[in-house]
């Protein structure tokens, strides 16, 4: 049977395949393994084995955990705002998953269609405002936390929500300004263009090291990881914004945190570490395309490991210290960086 498809339908089908691939990668492959990795890495750092009983090397631990959480009673306290309480975990999880839409996760794969060979770029949506899309979505994620804190009707949760909003405001600007340097250098807001520029020249982390540092720290703040996990701060706020959550609602926050982590690592890889590219290697053809996906995955994984490593090493900031750092150190630094990059690009006449 010959399948004939019209051009738009074919494109739509391609997009669906790509979405399914990316989600399968993040939700089914990366996310459970990340939960496992977090616990094994913490074990490694803390001189203990970590979970090693469920499945080979304890790999099925995450599955067991999720199953356990799903079977727990879903307790909704009496005084919560039920609508927002239900909505909040969804709001946290969704932006992380849709961020992947604009991230190029590989070079391209040649596909023969209607007798012609065409290169299919490995990005779900190559929109020309890619980075704005990412910023818009990642800022949305904090609403989930703030709403969870508010709707729980609990003082500790409220404090957690307030902390989260203060934190996101303090770091969003510095993050935006430091990332702007990348786009000035690449001359485009498209993420594939950023990767191609780095492929052609050199990874942004070298010329824009300052921007990378600011961006990476802001990412830590954005994903609520130690040393910036103030909204959770289990020893101070008794798990903060998700104190009242149990069962699968809690699992959604949990998954949201890790999905955010993966998304953030993917963004850093794309912006500063050349995305799927390797210097001097041209990824062409089917195998080249697949290899580029692998390169991207390895780079992302390396960054995820950094996240884990930092979490199990550093203490947590205090609320006011974190804001001080954001406003008084990182914001001026990112300004300086942006001006320096812009001046350099203008002077070199590109």
């Amino acid at each position: 049977m010959t399948l004939t498809l019209s051009e738009p339908l074919f494109n739509a089908l391609l997009a669906v395949v790509k979405i399914l691939f990316v989600w399968a990668m993040t939700l089914a492959a990366l996310l459970p393994n990340l939960i496992w990795a977090e616990r094994r890495v913490s074990g490694l750092i803390q001189d203990r084995p970590g979970p090693n009983r469920v499945g080979p090397l304890g790999l099925f631990q995450a599955v067991a955990d999720v199953l356990k959480l799903m079977m727990k009673e879903d307790v909704v306290p009496l005084y919560v705002d039920k609508v927002l309480f239900t909505l909040a975990p969804l709001i946290t999880l969704t932006p992380a998953l849709v961020t992947f839409a604009v991230i190029p996760f590989g070079s391209s794969i040649p596909i023969t269609w209607n007798g012609a060979v065409r290169d299919v770029p490995l990005v779900i949506a190559d929109v020309n405002v890619g980075i704005l899309y990412i910023f818009a979505l990642t800022s949305l994620a904090v609403y989930g936390i703030v709403l969870a804190g508010w709707s729980s009707n609990d003082k500790y949760s409220l404090l957690g929500g307030v902390r989260a909003s203060a934190q996101i405001i303090s770091y969003e600007l510095a993050m935006g300004f430091s990332a702007a340097g990348v786009f000035i250098a690449a001359g485009s807001l498209r993420l594939p263009a950023v990767v191609e520029w780095q492929h052609a020249h050199l990874w942004n982390v070298v010329p824009q090291f300052l921007g990378f540092v600011v961006f990476a720290v802001a990412i830590f703040a954005e994903t609520n990881r130690i040393p910036f996990d103030l909204s959770e701060a289990e020893a101070e706020l008794v798990a903060g914004y998700h104190t009242e959550y149990s069962s699968f609602r809690f699992a959604m926050f949990f998954m949201g945190e890790y999905a955010n982590l993966i998304a953030a690592s993917a963004v850093v890889t794309t912006l500063y570490f050349g995305g799927w590219s390797l210097p001097g290697v041209a990824f062409t053809g089917l195998w080249g395309g697949l290899a580029s996906i692998a390169v991207f995955a390895v780079k992302t994984a390396a960054f995820i490991f950094l996240f884990l490593w930092v979490r199990w090493t550093l203490p947590r900031f205090r609320y006011d210290q974190l804001m001080e750092l954001g406003w008084k150190v990182f914001l001026p630094l990112s300004f300086f960086h942006l001006i320096a990059v812009a001046a350099f690009v203008a002077a070199s006449g590109r």
Partner: protein, 577 residues
């Protein structure tokens, strides 16, 4: 019991007599006990001021208030002329390294004493405790309400005529929140200030402590702390058990370093008996006390660092602790509640490989300390969290009755091991680390250094560990060996008497103090000559620490309160008894 002598060291006695005459006179005391002056209640407040301020006295540290109900006390100390209650104030002069007991009495009907909270603020909670458990009213006390028992409790549990089997209906009426509301001017409002209930089951209290805070944003504007959730009336229970049977209870005081509590208690009873324990037992007690101090500091720092988000240190610290527990287990069979000390020595000898084991542990502990040190001491975030938070000045620390690492972190070099050496502490070389800042970082550094010093002590003691028995051969006190019990008449009689009647401790009174992991751990024991203590009063080192917690955290943020609670190291078991 050693001879009764008039206390010779009271340099200020002539002045005291000139000023107060009959109303404040030195009392004859056994040499092992602390010097005592008997003060008439009417002159108590003036005497207290004199003792604090006079250059020849300078008792700047309020240690303890041990109230005794003498209702059933026989012998020379029995009560006459209606003065049923005795209140023993324990004072210490950091300048002259001298303890002093000020004893006063209160009548059976409506016992009243003037408060000393305006002289030493540290008397605050001790007076509340005395009111709660003994029913002595302290006139002028700023906040005289129940402390260890519930507000709905009826009667005063430590009085000798209180029947222990009674049950009271204690409802959930919350006194603390309403009291705090009265302290602050603005009413609770979501957008202005909010009242935050912190504990008793809050993750950073590591036990059952409770603080109610009034917060403006996250800044604490007022706070009040409450304890008693782990109160089990250890002191009342002690009165119905023989002296040896009290030892397992002492393990549950500071359960992070039970060995120190046990040997401290045993030493108190031994000095009442006048029993000398063998050198080997003293050396082993020293080694295990230092390891216990190390464990305590490990738990304190590990948990404290978890509270500020540095999770990994907890495992580094706890690994050393686990290994020390294994040593304790090899010695006595128990890990946490060791009950290893006995009056007259130890329950049994240490294992054969004790010395090598100790040396191996010393190496391991050094390694674990280094790991934590490397991760935290120079870490900028940790410094930001610890420095200038939870500051206690030297004056405050003294006035509030601090002892131990917290006092030393505020710049006062008082350590019982140095200033009144016991066991083997006068034979080893070690330093007492002090810091002057009095903030959380100072307390952290002092504890870190104390752990290294403890290892130094252990190394020196095990190098000279003598052979020989670990128990005294005084069979009025120590159970005779089984061969003797089965083969000799005397052995059987001794055995029978020790088991059934307990150790006959001569009638009298003692305040014996030990350097616990958190500070001065004092046992104030009154004996009526029978096999059971008439009254045991423990001076728990973290009692004054937690009493002043509400003052320390005021003006700081909630996160600082958490860090401060950790560095103060409040152990509920010892706090609530």
């Amino acid at each position: 019991m050693s001879t009764t002598t008039p206390s010779p060291t009271l340099a200020f006695a002539p002045l005291l007599e000139r000023k107060f005459g009959e109303k404040a006179a030195p009392e004859a005391r056994p040499a092992a006990d602390v010097p005592t002056i008997a003060v008439d209640a009417s002159a108590l407040h003036d005497v207290a001021l004199f003792l604090r301020d006079d250059p020849s006295a300078r008792f700047d540290l309020f240690l303890d208030l041990a109230a005794v109900d003498r209702l059933k006390l026989a012998g020379p100390a029995s009560y006459r002329a209606g003065e049923r209650f005795a209140a023993n104030y324990l004072l210490y002069s950091t300048e002259r390294n001298e303890h002093l007991r000020v004893r006063t009495t209160a009548p059976a009907a409506d016992p009243k004493l003037p408060t000393l909270t305006d002289v030493w603020w540290g008397a605050n909670w001790f007076e509340r405790e005395a009111w709660d458990l003994m029913g002595i009213t302290f006139e002028g006390h700023p906040n005289l309400k129940r402390l260890l028992t519930h507000n709905g409790f009826v009667g005063h549990a430590l009085r000798k005529d209180y029947e222990a089997g009674q049950r009271w209906l204690c409802t959930e009426e919350d006194v603390l929140q309403t009291d705090l509301a009265a302290q602050t001017e603005t009413p609770e409002d979501v957008f202005e200030t909010l009242t935050l209930n912190f504990g008793p089951s809050h993750p950073s209290t590591h036990g059952t402590l409770r603080v109610v805070m009034r917060c403006d944003g996250e800044t604490i504007v007022a706070a009040e702390s409450e304890c008693g959730y782990l109160h089990r009336c250890f002191e009342k229970m002690s009165e119905t058990h023989t002296y040896q049977q009290v030892i397992p209870y002492t393990d549950r005081l500071n359960y992070c370093s039970p060995m120190i509590n046990g040997s401290g208690y045993a030493r108190a009873v031994e000095s009442m008996l006048g029993v000398e324990i063998p050198e080997r037992a003293r050396a082993v007690r020293t080694v295990l006390a230092e390891f216990s101090r190390l464990m305590d500091h490990m738990v304190c720092l590990g948990a404290n660092l978890v509270d500020i988000g540095a999770l990994t240190n907890f495992w580094y610290a706890f690994q050393a602790r686990e290994e020390i527990y294994s040593l304790l287990e090899a010695c006595c069979g128990a890990r946490l509640t060791s009950s290893y000390a006995r009056i007259g020595g130890l329950s049994n000898d240490v294992p054969e490989n004790f010395v090598e084991w100790c040396r191996r542990l010393v190496k391991l502990c050094h390694n674990q300390i280094r790991e934590v040190d490397g991760l935290i001491t120079k870490n900028r975030i940790a410094q930001k969290r610890f420095r200038d938070t939870g500051v206690v000045t030297k004056e405050q620390a003294l006035a509030w009755g601090f002892t131990g690492p917290c006092l030393r972190a505020s710049g006062v070099a008082y350590d019982v091991r140095k200033d009144a050496p016991y066991d083997w502490y006068d034979r080893v070389d070690f330093d007492v680390p002090i810091a002057t800042e009095g903030d959380n970082f100072a307390r952290y550094l002092v504890r870190m250094e104390e752990m290294r010093q403890s290892l130094r002590i252990v190394e020196q003691v095990v190098a000279k560990l003598p052979n020989g028995p670990v128990n005294s051969d005084d069979y009025r006190v120590v159970l005779p060996p089984k061969e003797m019990v089965y083969n000799e008449m005397e052995g059987l009689i001794y055995h029978f008497k020790v088991v059934f009647e307990g150790i006959p401790v001569p009638a009298g009174e003692i305040y014996s103090y030990t350097e616990g992991a958190n500070g001065e751990l004092g046992y104030h024991i009154v004996s009526d000559g029978t096999g059971r203590p008439y009254r045991v009063k423990v001076r728990p080192p973290c009692f004054p620490l937690f009493a002043s917690f509400e003052k320390i955290i005021r003006g700081g943020m909630v996160s600082d309160a958490v860090a401060t609670l950790g560095t103060l190291n409040i152990i509920a078991g010892e706090l609530d008894r």
